[in-house]
Protein backbone atom coordinates (compact mmCIF):
# COMPACT_ATOMS: atom_id res chain seq x y z
CA UNK A 1 0.00 0.00 0.00
CA UNK A 2 1.35 3.30 -1.07
CA UNK A 3 1.52 6.02 1.42
CA UNK A 4 0.42 9.13 -0.38
CA UNK A 5 2.97 11.94 -0.12
CA UNK A 6 1.25 15.05 0.90
CA UNK A 7 1.97 17.97 -1.42
CA UNK A 8 3.98 20.70 0.29
CA UNK A 9 1.95 23.41 1.72
CA UNK A 10 2.30 26.94 0.29
CA UNK A 11 4.13 28.08 3.38
CA UNK A 12 6.56 25.18 3.08
CA UNK A 13 7.15 26.01 -0.63
CA UNK A 14 7.96 29.62 0.23
CA UNK A 15 10.40 28.50 2.92
CA UNK A 16 12.18 26.15 0.49
CA UNK A 17 12.42 28.92 -2.11
CA UNK A 18 13.96 31.27 0.45
CA UNK A 19 16.54 28.65 1.44
CA UNK A 20 17.43 28.01 -2.20
CA UNK A 21 17.71 31.73 -2.91
CA UNK A 22 19.96 32.18 0.09
CA UNK A 23 22.22 29.36 -1.08
CA UNK A 24 22.47 30.84 -4.57
CA UNK A 25 23.19 34.32 -3.26
CA UNK A 26 25.89 33.04 -0.92
CA UNK A 27 27.42 30.97 -3.71
CA UNK A 28 27.50 33.94 -6.07
CA UNK A 29 28.94 36.08 -3.32
CA UNK A 30 31.71 33.56 -2.67
CA UNK A 31 32.49 33.27 -6.36
CA UNK A 32 32.73 37.04 -6.74
CA UNK A 33 34.89 37.35 -3.67
CA UNK A 34 37.23 34.63 -4.90
CA UNK A 35 37.56 36.22 -8.33
CA UNK A 36 38.11 39.63 -6.79
CA UNK A 37 40.78 38.24 -4.55
CA UNK A 38 42.47 36.57 -7.48
CA UNK A 39 42.31 39.78 -9.50
CA UNK A 40 43.71 41.73 -6.63
CA UNK A 41 46.63 39.36 -6.35
CA UNK A 42 47.25 39.40 -10.08
CA UNK A 43 47.14 43.14 -10.02
CA UNK A 44 49.66 43.29 -7.22
CA UNK A 45 51.96 40.94 -9.07
CA UNK A 46 51.61 42.94 -12.23
CA UNK A 47 52.51 46.11 -10.41
CA UNK A 48 55.43 44.40 -8.76
CA UNK A 49 56.72 43.24 -12.09
CA UNK A 50 56.34 46.64 -13.61
CA UNK A 51 58.43 48.20 -10.88
CA UNK A 52 61.38 46.04 -11.70
CA UNK A 53 60.96 45.64 -15.41
CA UNK A 54 64.27 47.38 -15.92
CA UNK A 55 66.13 44.40 -14.60
CA UNK A 56 63.68 41.59 -14.11
CA UNK A 57 63.67 38.67 -16.45
CA UNK A 58 59.93 38.45 -16.03
CA UNK A 59 58.84 41.03 -18.59
CA UNK A 60 60.75 40.45 -21.75
CA UNK A 61 59.04 43.12 -23.82
CA UNK A 62 59.37 45.79 -21.18
CA UNK A 63 62.95 44.92 -20.50
CA UNK A 64 63.99 45.16 -24.08
CA UNK A 65 62.74 48.72 -24.16
CA UNK A 66 63.89 49.74 -20.74
CA UNK A 67 66.98 51.88 -20.29
CA UNK A 68 69.05 48.97 -19.08
CA UNK A 69 72.76 49.41 -18.80
CA UNK A 70 74.63 46.80 -20.79
CA UNK A 71 76.08 45.44 -17.64
CA UNK A 72 72.76 45.09 -15.91
CA UNK A 73 72.47 41.90 -13.93
CA UNK A 74 71.25 39.06 -16.03
CA UNK A 75 67.62 38.11 -15.81
CA UNK A 76 66.59 35.53 -13.31
CA UNK A 77 69.93 33.89 -12.50
CA UNK A 78 71.22 37.16 -11.17
CA UNK A 79 68.34 39.57 -11.46
CA UNK A 80 66.63 41.55 -8.79
CA UNK A 81 63.08 40.85 -7.97
CA UNK A 82 60.28 43.12 -6.98
CA UNK A 83 61.17 44.91 -3.76
CA UNK A 84 57.58 44.54 -2.65
CA UNK A 85 57.70 40.78 -2.93
CA UNK A 86 60.05 39.62 -0.21
CA UNK A 87 61.10 36.14 -0.98
CA UNK A 88 60.09 33.19 1.01
CA UNK A 89 62.91 30.81 1.67
CA UNK A 90 61.82 27.46 0.38
CA UNK A 91 61.16 25.21 3.26
CA UNK A 92 61.05 28.03 5.76
CA UNK A 93 57.87 28.80 7.57
CA UNK A 94 56.58 32.33 7.30
CA UNK A 95 57.52 32.92 10.90
CA UNK A 96 61.11 32.04 10.19
CA UNK A 97 61.12 34.27 7.14
CA UNK A 98 59.90 37.13 9.26
CA UNK A 99 62.64 36.51 11.80
CA UNK A 100 65.46 36.48 9.30
CA UNK A 101 64.10 39.21 7.04
CA UNK A 102 65.23 42.79 7.26
CA UNK A 103 62.33 45.13 7.90
CA UNK A 104 63.97 47.80 5.79
CA UNK A 105 63.98 45.58 2.74
CA UNK A 106 60.76 43.82 3.50
CA UNK A 107 57.96 46.33 3.53
CA UNK A 108 55.39 43.94 2.10
CA UNK A 109 53.61 41.15 3.91
CA UNK A 110 54.96 37.67 3.19
CA UNK A 111 53.68 36.06 0.01
CA UNK A 112 50.64 33.85 0.24
CA UNK A 113 51.07 30.13 0.43
CA UNK A 114 50.14 29.89 -3.24
CA UNK A 115 53.21 31.95 -4.14
CA UNK A 116 55.68 29.92 -2.13
CA UNK A 117 57.91 27.77 -4.24
CA UNK A 118 59.68 24.98 -2.52
CA UNK A 119 62.10 23.00 -4.64
CA UNK A 120 61.79 19.25 -4.33
CA UNK A 121 63.64 17.70 -1.41
CA UNK A 122 67.21 16.81 -2.22
CA UNK A 123 66.46 13.12 -1.76
CA UNK A 124 63.66 13.30 -4.30
CA UNK A 125 66.07 12.99 -7.24
CA UNK A 126 64.72 9.96 -9.05
CA UNK A 127 66.62 6.77 -9.71
CA UNK A 128 67.50 5.90 -13.29
CA UNK A 129 69.35 7.64 -16.10
CA UNK A 130 67.64 11.01 -15.68
CA UNK A 131 68.30 11.08 -11.93
CA UNK A 132 71.93 10.19 -12.53
CA UNK A 133 72.40 13.24 -14.72
CA UNK A 134 70.57 15.43 -12.19
CA UNK A 135 72.92 14.18 -9.48
CA UNK A 136 75.90 14.90 -11.67
CA UNK A 137 74.57 18.42 -12.14
CA UNK A 138 74.24 18.78 -8.38
CA UNK A 139 77.85 17.68 -7.87
CA UNK A 140 79.09 20.06 -10.58
CA UNK A 141 77.15 22.81 -8.89
CA UNK A 142 78.75 22.07 -5.51
CA UNK A 143 82.28 21.44 -6.68
CA UNK A 144 82.61 23.03 -10.06
CA UNK A 145 86.39 23.16 -10.12
CA UNK A 146 86.71 19.45 -9.53
CA UNK A 147 83.76 18.22 -11.55
CA UNK A 148 83.97 20.57 -14.54
CA UNK A 149 87.65 21.57 -14.53
CA UNK A 150 87.87 22.20 -18.27
CA UNK A 151 85.48 25.12 -18.04
CA UNK A 152 86.53 26.86 -14.84
CA UNK A 153 89.22 29.53 -14.80
CA UNK A 154 89.22 30.61 -11.17
CA UNK A 155 88.79 29.27 -7.65
CA UNK A 156 85.03 29.62 -7.46
CA UNK A 157 82.19 27.11 -7.47
CA UNK A 158 78.58 27.74 -8.52
CA UNK A 159 77.50 27.29 -4.90
CA UNK A 160 79.56 30.29 -3.74
CA UNK A 161 76.90 32.68 -5.04
CA UNK A 162 73.98 30.26 -5.44
CA UNK A 163 73.84 29.05 -1.85
CA UNK A 164 72.49 25.68 -0.76
CA UNK A 165 73.43 24.13 -4.09
CA UNK A 166 71.33 26.65 -5.97
CA UNK A 167 68.25 26.15 -3.80
CA UNK A 168 68.24 29.16 -1.51
CA UNK A 169 65.84 32.03 -2.19
CA UNK A 170 67.44 35.46 -2.70
CA UNK A 171 70.60 33.71 -3.72
CA UNK A 172 69.71 33.39 -7.40
CA UNK A 173 68.19 29.93 -7.02
CA UNK A 174 67.95 27.67 -10.06
CA UNK A 175 64.21 27.26 -9.53
CA UNK A 176 63.93 31.00 -10.04
CA UNK A 177 66.06 31.04 -13.17
CA UNK A 178 65.07 27.98 -15.12
CA UNK A 179 61.41 28.97 -15.69
CA UNK A 180 62.44 32.40 -17.06
CA UNK A 181 64.17 31.22 -20.21
CA UNK A 182 64.38 31.72 -23.14
CA UNK A 183 64.68 35.44 -22.43
CA UNK A 184 65.96 38.50 -24.21
CA UNK A 185 69.00 39.81 -22.36
CA UNK A 186 70.41 43.26 -22.79
CA UNK A 187 73.83 41.82 -22.00
CA UNK A 188 73.87 39.57 -25.04
CA UNK A 189 71.32 41.53 -27.07
CA UNK A 190 69.50 38.43 -28.16
CA UNK A 191 67.16 35.82 -26.83
CA UNK A 192 69.18 33.41 -24.72
CA UNK A 193 68.20 29.88 -23.92
CA UNK A 194 68.87 28.61 -20.41
CA UNK A 195 71.89 26.75 -21.74
CA UNK A 196 73.28 29.98 -23.14
CA UNK A 197 72.70 31.64 -19.82
CA UNK A 198 74.65 28.89 -18.07
CA UNK A 199 77.46 29.38 -20.58
CA UNK A 200 77.51 33.02 -19.55
CA UNK A 201 78.19 31.99 -15.95
CA UNK A 202 81.23 30.02 -17.08
CA UNK A 203 82.49 32.89 -19.22
CA UNK A 204 82.17 35.60 -16.58
CA UNK A 205 81.54 34.41 -13.04
CA UNK A 206 83.78 31.38 -13.40
CA UNK A 207 86.24 33.27 -15.63
CA UNK A 208 86.48 30.15 -17.75
CA UNK A 209 85.47 28.64 -21.06
CA UNK A 210 81.81 27.96 -21.69
CA UNK A 211 81.00 24.28 -22.26
CA UNK A 212 79.93 23.61 -25.85
CA UNK A 213 76.20 23.24 -26.44
CA UNK A 214 75.16 19.71 -25.70
CA UNK A 215 78.24 19.08 -23.55
CA UNK A 216 77.61 16.66 -20.67
CA UNK A 217 78.41 19.37 -18.13
CA UNK A 218 75.90 21.77 -19.59
CA UNK A 219 73.23 19.08 -19.92
CA UNK A 220 73.79 17.99 -16.31
CA UNK A 221 73.38 21.55 -15.03
CA UNK A 222 70.28 22.03 -17.17
CA UNK A 223 68.83 18.76 -15.86
CA UNK A 224 69.56 19.72 -12.26
CA UNK A 225 67.91 23.14 -12.71
CA UNK A 226 64.92 21.66 -14.50
CA UNK A 227 64.47 19.01 -11.82
CA UNK A 228 64.62 21.65 -9.10
CA UNK A 229 62.00 23.80 -10.84
CA UNK A 230 59.27 21.18 -10.71
CA UNK A 231 55.97 22.97 -10.29
CA UNK A 232 57.46 26.44 -10.73
CA UNK A 233 55.34 28.42 -13.17
CA UNK A 234 57.08 29.31 -16.42
CA UNK A 235 57.64 32.98 -17.10
CA UNK A 236 55.98 34.24 -13.95
CA UNK A 237 58.96 35.65 -12.10
CA UNK A 238 58.90 34.17 -8.62
CA UNK A 239 59.57 35.85 -5.30
CA UNK A 240 62.99 34.71 -4.16
CA UNK A 241 64.35 34.50 -7.70
CA UNK A 242 67.56 36.37 -8.41
CA UNK A 243 68.86 38.58 -5.65
CA UNK A 244 66.47 40.65 -3.54
CA UNK A 245 66.82 44.23 -4.73
CA UNK A 246 68.02 46.51 -1.96
CA UNK A 247 66.64 49.99 -1.35
CA UNK A 248 69.00 52.76 -2.41
CA UNK A 249 71.43 53.64 0.38
CA UNK A 250 70.86 56.83 2.36
CA UNK A 251 74.36 57.99 1.57
CA UNK A 252 76.08 57.16 -1.70
CA UNK A 253 78.00 53.90 -1.38
CA UNK A 254 81.50 54.59 -0.16
CA UNK A 255 84.56 52.35 -0.44
CA UNK A 256 86.34 53.76 2.61
CA UNK A 257 83.38 53.03 4.85
CA UNK A 258 83.07 49.72 3.06
CA UNK A 259 86.63 48.81 3.95
CA UNK A 260 85.80 49.14 7.63
CA UNK A 261 82.72 46.96 7.16
CA UNK A 262 84.86 44.43 5.32
CA UNK A 263 87.46 44.22 8.07
CA UNK A 264 84.78 43.85 10.73
CA UNK A 265 82.42 41.40 9.04
CA UNK A 266 84.08 39.74 6.04
CA UNK A 267 87.83 39.42 6.59
CA UNK A 268 87.42 36.63 9.14
CA UNK A 269 86.48 34.25 6.32
CA UNK A 270 87.52 35.97 3.10
CA UNK A 271 90.85 37.17 4.51
CA UNK A 272 92.07 40.71 5.04
CA UNK A 273 93.31 40.59 1.44
CA UNK A 274 89.98 39.30 0.11
CA UNK A 275 91.62 36.17 -1.30
CA UNK A 276 89.58 33.73 0.73
CA UNK A 277 91.12 30.77 2.55
CA UNK A 278 92.22 27.36 1.38
CA UNK A 279 92.84 24.02 3.01
CA UNK A 280 95.04 21.86 0.82
CA UNK A 281 93.44 21.86 -2.61
CA UNK A 282 90.09 23.03 -1.35
CA UNK A 283 89.08 26.65 -1.53
CA UNK A 284 86.96 26.85 1.61
CA UNK A 285 86.20 30.59 1.51
CA UNK A 286 86.05 32.12 -1.97
CA UNK A 287 88.26 34.98 -3.13
CA UNK A 288 86.29 38.17 -3.70
CA UNK A 289 88.74 39.88 -6.04
CA UNK A 290 92.07 39.24 -7.67
CA UNK A 291 93.05 36.65 -10.28
CA UNK A 292 91.03 33.78 -8.80
CA UNK A 293 87.70 35.60 -8.49
CA UNK A 294 84.86 36.48 -10.89
CA UNK A 295 85.89 38.67 -13.80
CA UNK A 296 84.90 42.20 -14.79
CA UNK A 297 82.06 40.89 -16.94
CA UNK A 298 80.29 38.98 -14.15
CA UNK A 299 76.99 40.24 -12.80
CA UNK A 300 78.45 40.23 -9.31
CA UNK A 301 80.91 42.99 -10.24
CA UNK A 302 77.94 45.38 -10.24
CA UNK A 303 77.71 47.11 -6.89
CA UNK A 304 73.92 46.75 -6.62
CA UNK A 305 74.00 43.01 -7.30
CA UNK A 306 76.80 42.40 -4.81
CA UNK A 307 75.08 44.58 -2.18
CA UNK A 308 71.85 42.63 -2.61
CA UNK A 309 73.61 39.29 -2.33
CA UNK A 310 75.59 40.39 0.71
CA UNK A 311 72.65 41.84 2.61
CA UNK A 312 70.53 38.74 2.10
CA UNK A 313 73.22 36.12 2.65
CA UNK A 314 76.35 37.31 4.42
CA UNK A 315 78.00 36.52 6.77
CA UNK A 316 77.21 32.92 6.01
CA UNK A 317 74.32 31.76 8.19
CA UNK A 318 73.63 35.30 9.35
CA UNK A 319 71.98 36.74 6.27
CA UNK A 320 69.99 39.90 6.88
CA UNK A 321 72.26 40.99 9.72
CA UNK A 322 74.18 43.68 7.84
CA UNK A 323 72.44 47.01 7.37
CA UNK A 324 71.47 48.34 3.98
CA UNK A 325 74.10 51.11 4.03
CA UNK A 326 76.85 48.74 5.19
CA UNK A 327 75.93 46.30 2.42
CA UNK A 328 76.20 48.97 -0.27
CA UNK A 329 79.44 50.31 1.17
CA UNK A 330 81.14 46.93 1.43
CA UNK A 331 79.93 45.91 -2.03
CA UNK A 332 81.50 49.03 -3.44
CA UNK A 333 84.73 48.31 -1.58
CA UNK A 334 84.88 44.73 -2.86
CA UNK A 335 84.14 45.74 -6.42
CA UNK A 336 86.72 48.53 -6.36
CA UNK A 337 89.48 45.95 -6.71
CA UNK A 338 91.07 44.52 -9.82
CA UNK A 339 89.92 41.13 -11.02
CA UNK A 340 90.26 39.15 -14.24
CA UNK A 341 89.68 41.18 -17.38
CA UNK A 342 86.28 41.29 -19.05
CA UNK A 343 86.46 38.71 -21.84
CA UNK A 344 84.82 41.32 -24.10
CA UNK A 345 87.76 43.69 -23.56
CA UNK A 346 88.33 45.67 -26.74
CA UNK A 347 91.92 46.53 -25.89
CA UNK A 348 90.91 49.85 -24.41
CA UNK A 349 89.44 50.25 -20.94
CA UNK A 350 87.50 53.43 -21.69
CA UNK A 351 86.02 51.99 -24.85
CA UNK A 352 85.18 48.73 -23.04
CA UNK A 353 83.43 50.70 -20.34
CA UNK A 354 81.40 52.68 -22.86
CA UNK A 355 80.42 49.53 -24.68
CA UNK A 356 79.71 47.14 -21.83
CA UNK A 357 79.83 48.93 -18.49
CA UNK A 358 77.96 52.14 -18.99
CA UNK A 359 76.23 51.96 -15.62
CA UNK A 360 76.76 53.60 -12.28
CA UNK A 361 76.76 50.14 -10.74
CA UNK A 362 79.94 49.18 -12.56
CA UNK A 363 83.24 50.63 -11.42
CA UNK A 364 85.08 49.23 -14.43
CA UNK A 365 86.87 51.99 -16.29
CA UNK A 366 86.45 54.44 -13.44
CA UNK A 367 89.30 55.86 -11.42
CA UNK A 368 89.08 54.73 -7.79
CA UNK A 369 91.78 55.89 -5.37
CA UNK A 370 93.87 56.97 -8.33
CA UNK A 371 93.67 53.58 -10.04
CA UNK A 372 91.89 53.14 -13.36
CA UNK A 373 89.92 49.96 -12.71
CA UNK A 374 90.28 47.44 -15.51
CA UNK A 375 93.68 48.77 -16.58
CA UNK A 376 95.52 46.26 -14.41
CA UNK A 377 93.01 43.48 -14.70
CA UNK A 378 94.42 40.01 -14.23
Amino acid sequence: MKTPVAPPSRAEERRQTRVLLTIVVVAIGLAVATLAGFNLRSHTLFNSNSTVEKTSGGVVKARSHAPVPDTAPEPAIASEKAPTAKAPTPGLSKVQVAQTGDAATNPAPPPTAAELVVPPASDAIPAGPFGEVVRRGEQIFLNTRVNAPAFVGNSLNCVNCHLDAGRKADSAPMWGAWPMYPAYRSKTKHVDTFAERLRGCFTYSMNGTPPPFGDDVLVALEAYSYWMSKGAPAGKGLPGAGFAKLPEPEKEADGARGQAVFQAHCALCHGADGQGQRVGDTQVFPPLWGPQSYNWGAGMHNVDTAAAFIQANMPLGKGGSLGVQDSWDVARFINSHERPQDPRFTGDVTETREKFHNSKQSLYGLRVNGQLLGSKAH
Binding site: L142, V279, G319
Partner: protein, 231 residues
Protein backbone atom coordinates in the same frame (compact mmCIF):
# COMPACT_ATOMS: atom_id res chain seq x y z
CA UNK B 1 57.71 37.51 25.48
CA UNK B 2 58.76 40.97 26.51
CA UNK B 3 61.05 39.52 29.11
CA UNK B 4 62.50 37.17 26.55
CA UNK B 5 63.13 39.99 24.08
CA UNK B 6 64.77 42.09 26.71
CA UNK B 7 66.89 39.16 27.72
CA UNK B 8 67.94 38.54 24.11
CA UNK B 9 68.82 42.19 23.65
CA UNK B 10 70.80 42.19 26.84
CA UNK B 11 72.60 39.04 25.77
CA UNK B 12 73.32 40.45 22.34
CA UNK B 13 74.77 43.63 23.78
CA UNK B 14 76.81 41.71 26.30
CA UNK B 15 78.10 39.29 23.68
CA UNK B 16 79.06 41.97 21.19
CA UNK B 17 80.82 43.79 23.99
CA UNK B 18 82.72 40.70 24.97
CA UNK B 19 83.57 39.93 21.35
CA UNK B 20 84.82 43.44 20.66
CA UNK B 21 86.85 43.47 23.86
CA UNK B 22 88.21 40.01 23.13
CA UNK B 23 89.20 40.99 19.62
CA UNK B 24 91.06 44.12 20.64
CA UNK B 25 92.76 42.15 23.38
CA UNK B 26 93.77 39.35 21.03
CA UNK B 27 95.20 41.76 18.50
CA UNK B 28 97.21 43.49 21.21
CA UNK B 29 98.41 40.25 22.74
CA UNK B 30 99.26 38.50 19.50
CA UNK B 31 101.23 41.54 18.45
CA UNK B 32 103.50 40.98 21.44
CA UNK B 33 104.72 37.83 19.79
CA UNK B 34 105.01 34.40 21.25
CA UNK B 35 107.93 32.80 22.99
CA UNK B 36 108.30 29.30 21.66
CA UNK B 37 110.35 28.00 24.57
CA UNK B 38 107.85 29.33 27.09
CA UNK B 39 104.97 27.82 25.15
CA UNK B 40 106.63 24.43 24.90
CA UNK B 41 107.52 24.35 28.59
CA UNK B 42 103.95 25.15 29.66
CA UNK B 43 102.61 22.57 27.26
CA UNK B 44 104.97 19.80 28.32
CA UNK B 45 105.56 20.52 31.99
CA UNK B 46 102.94 23.01 33.06
CA UNK B 47 103.60 25.60 35.72
CA UNK B 48 103.22 23.72 39.00
CA UNK B 49 101.29 23.83 41.15
CA UNK B 50 98.42 25.63 39.40
CA UNK B 51 98.98 24.77 35.75
CA UNK B 52 99.05 21.14 34.73
CA UNK B 53 100.94 20.11 31.62
CA UNK B 54 98.62 20.59 28.62
CA UNK B 55 99.80 17.39 26.95
CA UNK B 56 98.66 15.37 29.94
CA UNK B 57 95.10 15.65 28.69
CA UNK B 58 95.40 16.94 25.13
CA UNK B 59 98.05 14.45 24.02
CA UNK B 60 101.79 14.65 23.41
CA UNK B 61 101.19 16.00 19.92
CA UNK B 62 98.14 18.02 20.89
CA UNK B 63 96.09 15.40 19.10
CA UNK B 64 93.38 15.22 21.79
CA UNK B 65 91.46 12.16 22.84
CA UNK B 66 87.89 11.07 23.44
CA UNK B 67 87.28 13.50 26.29
CA UNK B 68 89.68 16.26 25.28
CA UNK B 69 89.64 18.29 22.09
CA UNK B 70 92.74 18.40 19.88
CA UNK B 71 94.76 21.58 20.08
CA UNK B 72 97.03 20.86 17.13
CA UNK B 73 95.36 21.90 13.90
CA UNK B 74 93.75 24.90 15.52
CA UNK B 75 95.05 28.36 14.75
CA UNK B 76 96.77 30.60 17.23
CA UNK B 77 93.91 33.10 17.17
CA UNK B 78 91.38 30.44 18.08
CA UNK B 79 93.45 28.88 20.87
CA UNK B 80 94.38 32.22 22.36
CA UNK B 81 90.75 33.39 22.29
CA UNK B 82 89.72 30.24 24.18
CA UNK B 83 92.38 30.75 26.87
CA UNK B 84 91.24 34.35 27.27
CA UNK B 85 87.63 33.26 27.53
CA UNK B 86 88.46 30.55 30.09
CA UNK B 87 90.42 33.08 32.14
CA UNK B 88 87.68 35.70 32.07
CA UNK B 89 84.95 33.17 32.77
CA UNK B 90 83.17 33.98 29.50
CA UNK B 91 83.75 30.34 28.64
CA UNK B 92 82.93 28.46 31.77
CA UNK B 93 85.02 25.39 32.50
CA UNK B 94 85.89 24.00 35.92
CA UNK B 95 89.32 22.70 34.91
CA UNK B 96 90.41 25.14 32.24
CA UNK B 97 89.20 28.25 34.05
CA UNK B 98 91.76 28.13 36.89
CA UNK B 99 94.55 26.99 34.54
CA UNK B 100 93.98 29.88 32.15
CA UNK B 101 93.75 32.32 35.04
CA UNK B 102 97.13 31.19 36.27
CA UNK B 103 98.74 32.14 32.96
CA UNK B 104 99.48 35.72 32.02
CA UNK B 105 98.73 37.10 28.59
CA UNK B 106 102.23 36.45 27.26
CA UNK B 107 102.12 32.86 28.48
CA UNK B 108 98.70 32.30 26.90
CA UNK B 109 100.02 33.70 23.65
CA UNK B 110 103.06 31.47 23.76
CA UNK B 111 101.27 28.26 24.54
CA UNK B 112 98.61 28.99 21.89
CA UNK B 113 101.34 29.60 19.33
CA UNK B 114 103.19 26.42 20.25
CA UNK B 115 100.17 24.19 19.76
CA UNK B 116 99.13 26.02 16.61
CA UNK B 117 102.48 25.23 15.07
CA UNK B 118 102.15 21.45 15.60
CA UNK B 119 101.15 19.29 12.64
CA UNK B 120 97.38 18.97 12.32
CA UNK B 121 96.10 15.57 13.45
CA UNK B 122 93.53 15.33 10.66
CA UNK B 123 94.27 15.20 6.99
CA UNK B 124 91.88 15.90 4.19
CA UNK B 125 90.10 12.76 3.11
CA UNK B 126 88.14 12.13 -0.01
CA UNK B 127 84.45 12.30 0.77
CA UNK B 128 81.73 10.61 -1.21
CA UNK B 129 78.81 12.85 -2.24
CA UNK B 130 76.49 13.14 0.75
CA UNK B 131 73.02 11.70 0.63
CA UNK B 132 70.14 13.23 2.62
CA UNK B 133 69.45 9.94 4.39
CA UNK B 134 72.90 10.17 6.02
CA UNK B 135 72.11 12.99 8.40
CA UNK B 136 75.67 13.51 9.61
CA UNK B 137 77.19 13.54 6.13
CA UNK B 138 74.46 15.88 4.92
CA UNK B 139 74.91 18.38 7.74
CA UNK B 140 78.68 18.25 7.25
CA UNK B 141 78.59 18.77 3.51
CA UNK B 142 75.32 20.56 2.84
CA UNK B 143 74.02 22.01 6.09
CA UNK B 144 70.33 22.59 6.72
CA UNK B 145 69.50 25.80 4.95
CA UNK B 146 65.82 25.73 5.74
CA UNK B 147 67.00 26.57 9.27
CA UNK B 148 69.71 28.88 7.97
CA UNK B 149 72.41 26.38 8.97
CA UNK B 150 75.41 26.32 6.62
CA UNK B 151 77.34 23.10 6.10
CA UNK B 152 80.04 22.39 8.71
CA UNK B 153 82.57 22.15 5.88
CA UNK B 154 81.82 25.68 4.72
CA UNK B 155 83.76 27.06 7.69
CA UNK B 156 85.59 24.09 9.22
CA UNK B 157 86.90 22.83 5.91
CA UNK B 158 86.51 19.52 4.09
CA UNK B 159 86.23 16.67 6.55
CA UNK B 160 86.12 19.22 9.37
CA UNK B 161 89.93 19.47 9.33
CA UNK B 162 89.80 23.12 10.39
CA UNK B 163 90.73 26.37 8.68
CA UNK B 164 93.31 28.15 10.82
CA UNK B 165 93.66 30.64 12.33
CA UNK B 166 90.02 31.07 13.35
CA UNK B 167 88.11 27.89 12.49
CA UNK B 168 89.17 24.89 14.58
CA UNK B 169 89.08 21.28 13.44
CA UNK B 170 85.89 19.52 14.43
CA UNK B 171 86.50 16.25 12.61
CA UNK B 172 87.99 14.50 15.65
CA UNK B 173 85.68 15.80 18.33
CA UNK B 174 83.57 13.43 20.37
CA UNK B 175 79.82 13.78 20.30
CA UNK B 176 79.87 14.54 24.02
CA UNK B 177 82.32 17.41 23.62
CA UNK B 178 80.41 18.83 20.64
CA UNK B 179 77.13 18.54 22.47
CA UNK B 180 78.55 20.32 25.52
CA UNK B 181 79.73 23.20 23.32
CA UNK B 182 76.42 23.51 21.54
CA UNK B 183 74.63 23.62 24.88
CA UNK B 184 77.12 26.21 26.14
CA UNK B 185 76.41 28.45 23.16
CA UNK B 186 72.71 27.98 23.67
CA UNK B 187 73.04 28.86 27.35
CA UNK B 188 75.48 31.71 26.80
CA UNK B 189 78.26 30.05 28.81
CA UNK B 190 80.64 30.09 25.87
CA UNK B 191 81.35 33.30 23.94
CA UNK B 192 79.54 33.48 20.60
CA UNK B 193 82.85 33.33 18.75
CA UNK B 194 83.88 35.52 15.83
CA UNK B 195 80.84 37.29 14.33
CA UNK B 196 78.66 35.08 16.51
CA UNK B 197 78.68 32.56 13.65
CA UNK B 198 78.71 29.38 15.70
CA UNK B 199 76.37 30.65 18.35
CA UNK B 200 73.74 31.28 15.73
CA UNK B 201 74.28 27.84 14.19
CA UNK B 202 74.15 26.17 17.61
CA UNK B 203 70.65 27.49 18.21
CA UNK B 204 69.43 25.27 15.40
CA UNK B 205 71.26 22.08 16.33
CA UNK B 206 69.94 19.29 18.50
CA UNK B 207 71.51 16.21 20.08
CA UNK B 208 70.63 13.97 17.12
CA UNK B 209 72.34 16.38 14.74
CA UNK B 210 75.46 16.41 16.89
CA UNK B 211 75.77 12.67 17.29
CA UNK B 212 75.17 12.19 13.55
CA UNK B 213 77.89 14.68 12.61
CA UNK B 214 80.33 13.26 15.16
CA UNK B 215 79.69 9.74 13.91
CA UNK B 216 80.14 10.82 10.30
CA UNK B 217 83.49 12.47 10.95
CA UNK B 218 84.67 9.61 13.15
CA UNK B 219 83.96 7.14 10.36
CA UNK B 220 85.45 9.40 7.71
CA UNK B 221 88.74 9.80 9.50
CA UNK B 222 88.92 6.19 10.59
CA UNK B 223 88.57 5.00 7.01
CA UNK B 224 92.09 5.78 5.70
CA UNK B 225 93.72 3.89 8.60
CA UNK B 226 91.53 0.89 7.88
CA UNK B 227 92.36 1.13 4.21
CA UNK B 228 96.08 1.26 4.94
CA UNK B 229 95.80 -1.78 7.22
CA UNK B 230 94.35 -3.83 4.41
CA UNK B 231 96.81 -5.55 2.11
Amino acid sequence: MLTFSFHSLHNALRCSGVAAFGLSLSVAALAQGANNAVGERIAREGLPPRVAACIGCHGAGGEGSAGFPPLAGSGKAYLFAQLEAFASGARKHAVMGPIAQALDTAQRTSVAAWFAALPAPLTQTKEAPATPSDRGAWLAARGRWQDGVPACAQCHGPGGVGVPPNFPPIGGLSAAYMQAQVEAWQAGTRPPGPLGLMESVAKHLNADDISAVAAYYAKLHAAPATAKAQP
